[in-house]
Symmetry: D2
Subunit: 456 residues, 4 copies
Amino acid sequence: MIFEKIKSEGLSHLSYFIASEGEAAVIDPRRDIEKYIELAYEADATFKYVFETHRNEDYVIGSIEIAQEGNAEIYHGPGLDFQYGNTLEEGQEFRIGNLRITWLHTPGHTDESVSYVLYDLEAGEEPIMVFTGDALFIGDVGRTDMYGRDEDRRMASNLYDSLFNKILPLGDHVIVCPAHGSGSVCGGEISEREQSTIGIERIQNPALQITDKEKFIQRKINENHFMAPYFAKMEEYNLEGPPLLKNRPVPKPMSPKEFQKHMEKGTFCVDTRDPADFGGAHIAGSYNIILDGLPLFSGWILSYDKPIILIVKDYEDLEKGIRHLNRLGYDNIIGYLTGGIVSWYSHNFPTHSIPLLTARKLKQKIENNEEIFILDVRSEDEWQKGHIEGAYHIYIGKLKNHLDEIPKERIIATLCGNGTRASLAASLLRKEGFKNAMSVLGSMKAWKSGGYPIVK
Amino acid sequence: MIFEKIKSEGLSHLSYFIASEGEAAVIDPRRDIEKYIELAYEADATFKYVFETHRNEDYVIGSIEIAQEGNAEIYHGPGLDFQYGNTLEEGQEFRIGNLRITWLHTPGHTDESVSYVLYDLEAGEEPIMVFTGDALFIGDVGRTDMYGRDEDRRMASNLYDSLFNKILPLGDHVIVCPAHGSGSVCGGEISEREQSTIGIERIQNPALQITDKEKFIQRKINENHFMAPYFAKMEEYNLEGPPLLKNRPVPKPMSPKEFQKHMEKGTFCVDTRDPADFGGAHIAGSYNIILDGLPLFSGWILSYDKPIILIVKDYEDLEKGIRHLNRLGYDNIIGYLTGGIVSWYSHNFPTHSIPLLTARKLKQKIENNEEIFILDVRSEDEWQKGHIEGAYHIYIGKLKNHLDEIPKERIIATLCGNGTRASLAASLLRKEGFKNAMSVLGSMKAWKSGGYPIVK
Amino acid sequence: MIFEKIKSEGLSHLSYFIASEGEAAVIDPRRDIEKYIELAYEADATFKYVFETHRNEDYVIGSIEIAQEGNAEIYHGPGLDFQYGNTLEEGQEFRIGNLRITWLHTPGHTDESVSYVLYDLEAGEEPIMVFTGDALFIGDVGRTDMYGRDEDRRMASNLYDSLFNKILPLGDHVIVCPAHGSGSVCGGEISEREQSTIGIERIQNPALQITDKEKFIQRKINENHFMAPYFAKMEEYNLEGPPLLKNRPVPKPMSPKEFQKHMEKGTFCVDTRDPADFGGAHIAGSYNIILDGLPLFSGWILSYDKPIILIVKDYEDLEKGIRHLNRLGYDNIIGYLTGGIVSWYSHNFPTHSIPLLTARKLKQKIENNEEIFILDVRSEDEWQKGHIEGAYHIYIGKLKNHLDEIPKERIIATLCGNGTRASLAASLLRKEGFKNAMSVLGSMKAWKSGGYPIVK
Amino acid sequence: MIFEKIKSEGLSHLSYFIASEGEAAVIDPRRDIEKYIELAYEADATFKYVFETHRNEDYVIGSIEIAQEGNAEIYHGPGLDFQYGNTLEEGQEFRIGNLRITWLHTPGHTDESVSYVLYDLEAGEEPIMVFTGDALFIGDVGRTDMYGRDEDRRMASNLYDSLFNKILPLGDHVIVCPAHGSGSVCGGEISEREQSTIGIERIQNPALQITDKEKFIQRKINENHFMAPYFAKMEEYNLEGPPLLKNRPVPKPMSPKEFQKHMEKGTFCVDTRDPADFGGAHIAGSYNIILDGLPLFSGWILSYDKPIILIVKDYEDLEKGIRHLNRLGYDNIIGYLTGGIVSWYSHNFPTHSIPLLTARKLKQKIENNEEIFILDVRSEDEWQKGHIEGAYHIYIGKLKNHLDEIPKERIIATLCGNGTRASLAASLLRKEGFKNAMSVLGSMKAWKSGGYPIVK
């Protein structure tokens, strides 16, 4: 058995390649499938199946791209009218060489969510791995708010049953392979660690410690998750079958002059450099979303209908940036600044700087009673676990709609977990006329590292 | 001024990227244009012009692919009805930042052939480089047989005028940038060295030593070049504008079983490994064209109408192999053997071997008066410059149509310059039922290296 | 917690990098440590500890190389007088950021063997991973014959206790991280799959099904493992501290002429190309060890006192080949054939071919009652599990000393698992004068794939 | 003939690899020789000669590193007592396969300077290339001030003779291969273009337009070049034979805490990120030398006796940064900040920012009559060709010794050609207590691009 976990940075999406005796399958493939093709070649294998755990809402699924590479069959869970592939049938099972794959209906995150159970027949008859999709993560369980407030009790109840009555009974020894790792929008508390077993989760996963069903449901209902605007597009794509990547338009190199014209027209400009670099010099009106943050944060800002232009650190980052956006279905990237920001300022186009804060400077300002508006843009859950006294909370995903809560003339110190969402927030605020917005480098990570006080 | 020569291995095609002050141009781009885009990014430049020296007949031109990247204007020589781009006008000149570009009509290879002359205005008013297309190579001049026997006198006469009255007068100091290097089908005697000047060519280029026009014409008329079947397709593509690469079908991974089905159907199978590896084990009925030989030799064997399947040494070679074929317009690659030949024989599919010859073994056999048919598949010109006594000559490109000249039951030793065309010849013969065909490793290179006798 | 498994191909050696909060450790590092340094950089960490599970006998350990990169402390198990690093003390435990590491004395493979137990304090108090060294593998347990026949009962008894009384009690949920994967010389039956838990092993590992201690000991005593000659050198190095890599001599490029001189002097020549390529053309007297087989098979053939020269497929393979040999402590590589085998035969130096067999041809020959000596060079254990009727068995590691058992004039078909050891055997036999030795491509893998009969 | 120009970025050093018929030579190799070895492999060649044009003063020569790879002979010009290799003899010539190499004594830059003339015997008897070392560049000629004021007349006179009586007579058609390109410290006016011929230089090189010897000498005497402190070390190394690279100490990863300790001890800290990034956030007391500026600017700041610590953008840059410093003989790099600046501020270590200027902001400030001290740190020659009115000039290499000329409390705007030396100057000034020093992004390039006024 050949097994590879393929991690999509930024998205924190995990897909899995398995092969045995010349046959291969992919679980929850991403849209750019080169890596799977390479793995198949190395494994002397061709694609037999694509297994989807559910209609993902946070990225474009690559099932059809893989199906194009041969005769792979695509499988979905029951209860949703997918417009491509096949629906799993009760009791259906699959063979990949010496591997046996069965499935469990594990609704809760969505109704059609399933988990796939893997048996290595060469070694024995018992299950050894389970691909849990968004039902069970390492350190967390799936969110149950996807269908809205009216349905969350039903979903939480379903999830409880899926977890306690279907997944946990597989046995402590079974290796857990979820669809997401730490940082995903699909779970707030997912562990940074990426290895686990049912036993470890049974013992250590905070959600699984709540064995009382009603308490479990309450906990889930009380959670706060953000419903990103791009979810609807992903759901539409993943239900109907997304457009093929090869039909994307090609992003064009743009001179500073052309680029400026687009800036003036109001084209969304994303600068993918690090917060400190962005602070040093950037184009007024650009959004700062770091390269590996593109798959996570773009959906809060960008639109599917309007063109996007890009600034990257260097040529190597260009392809990565485009790929990251394509994974969210943003195919409307019309161009990029050739030569990057250096080309821009060397041709005497105007730049702005932001005098960035650090945790220790923020601390000093607070101690000196300086006028400063501390804006924490982390999620509700992160905020509730501890924040700086006196800070104001607006989630980054809602910032655009709550600008009136922020004092325009004050110095605004934006904060998040490590400074990257804070920099996006500062760039967004500056674009909206908050000229004194500046982000805190390292944000809460640096603040905690300094041992400074936190309140809940 | 930024200047880069981009060499397409195998094709021995040379294209040129030039940039100055944020503006870039490409002369004779190939179809896969990533490299030019990267160079433009590094040069902080956008594409302004694409200059074609002539309607190339040996590869698909990438002008339209580049034009897609922005607003680059494409220019062609006069006298041919190109269905895209612009025709150069008398006296027209161009600016790329501080560079000035003029053009000379230099017919002879084709009627619409032009040369571009480059001036670096930062340094002075004199020309410093000339892009000669297929008019002047390093060590050779362009072939004049493209329009057939009826026209070759006219073409040779034109070429003489272009060379002696237009290009050479630019001055000894001018750097020569031709469209092809050693190994190209567009010139038989092109030097392996890739650096030259008009002065060096004036003194050392054998063709330019013949200053008598009539003698020059005679020499050209007496040359023998092969008219590869794919030339017509390239000419059609390059006249009308070739299809965009992104519309190609995607080659699929094939298991040994699927691959065998295609072999049985008679699908063209190209094995891109080295002759010694092919000799060790290969699939009966496959053609052996080494990876870097694909852009040169494929056109003798493959068809544009029929599907192609590929065998490569390892995954890294796959993308290269596909790219090489695409450069000739072979977009009909439907698949490749996943896992390569190792996967094939490990699954117990049958292989063949060829007991390869070396120059020294061939020498021995000749000395021992063994029955052996020595088949030299080099070009007419190579053959005339010296060959093994008693060898029989059929050019590789004509081999398919002269099979009846070869004794089916004899041991056949195929020979070329270095052994790669010889291995293709042996594979072709074996496919046609000549079971004792075997190639000579190293061929004439090894033979000469051994100091063995040659006759003319 | 950041966790990375670093696999050394060929060796099937697994080392582990763990980091948390800026601190990093490596378990059983290999000698070339660039990968660990890169991982530390990406994890914002510096090295704090190196943990060795035991004095490895099958590769050179890189502990001192890492210690050189900072102030990392090296730890060994008790009972052996290591001349560098520290000996673990009873009850000693370690912290790497939020990780806690304890150790268990788990003798059996060697006396000083230990296992490290990892706790992720961020998630809970229970153990989640165990680094088992050569005590427990996936699908197998450690060999117990390292100290010879006199000690194997004691060692097997110790291993039983280590496994059943120390490792298994950690709990089914604990992830197993062994020091080797499939293909290692340290365990005959290690699974190709690289993911497991204590629970999976408890249920599926064949050795762990034998819960009766005496039966377990008998099974271990009855195992047959080869004691490779290089083990002694590895043990010496790993006990005393191996020489630093930077003090190696530099392998030099050699022309065919220089290379031939070394061949004539009897310098060990290793040709790292695939069996089919080697069969196609090779230099008489060279050994065929495929690139990824170097760390596994070299120790049967090469000597630490005599120089080695290399032939590789292409330049990219050169660095890999050298690295592979260095991992076994072979630092005495004095040169390589510049330009590879193509350069050799193009300069008219003599090559040999081998008319390779396939499983289906071998089958035919057997059915036709052709005179053929089938030599199976797999290990004793592989042989006993099933072989071709009439085959003769000599383990590849012992072949040199059993040449008199092989008929010199017969056609000899060498066989192994997949054809790579078979090709080494054929090259060795040919060097020793067995002119009709030839390997079977794909060997038993192809044979089984063909569904041909096997006897036990 | 195989010919490759190997450019060492930053140094603007050009070395040349030539090969023919299995023999290779390198002209003026750099210290890290992997690229030459790869080229030799691809060319099926071994090293026969290393040719040095002179004892270089701006980088460590790699001749001995190459000689170690085989039996290559090293050759130097006459008149200097090199402690390794051979001195060229009158009339001595060399063969590399079909290439013939002769040499000309071309003193002027240094006494032992020679030029090598290359003939391609396959093509003809005439010279086709000349390797001119530091005698003739593209667009400039060598500096003649290396031996000080007492000798510059003699050197300039020698250079005149070398150029006009030895090199130019080779003929207009000969290709010029100098030891340096644009940006080198060895010539102020070297063209960005890297292709030229003797004819082009004869017509366009400004220095070669001065055919009157006395005027030529005067011009050379009047030139202003900086004598970098590292020149002496390079000369010493290149005369005696530099230490082998493999004996360097290994730079160690350092945590922010360790790094800070070194900062406090006054260890030279070089931050290799771009000026805008450095401006955004950096460690107080660090020097900003961009990655590709290391080989050019480090020698103004760093010492051979004191340890160096590094900050790089990302892991990929680390190896490049170390290599760049090693090329100048800085082997004393003791460590680098693991995880880079992000790791630093995330652990709450203090950073500084610089509110960077742009050309347009500087223009505004001047127009608004703001108090600002404009410090131009370009070379004397650059300064004289045009600068901003009212600017003050101190060459970057002399800045440390002229701090008293700069007003400590004023806002200081540092300027250079493109902003990189300006950023180094600003970082140096800030380290010395000039708290209001800030660099102008894009500097004179942006200023000129804006069309702003310049005075001479």
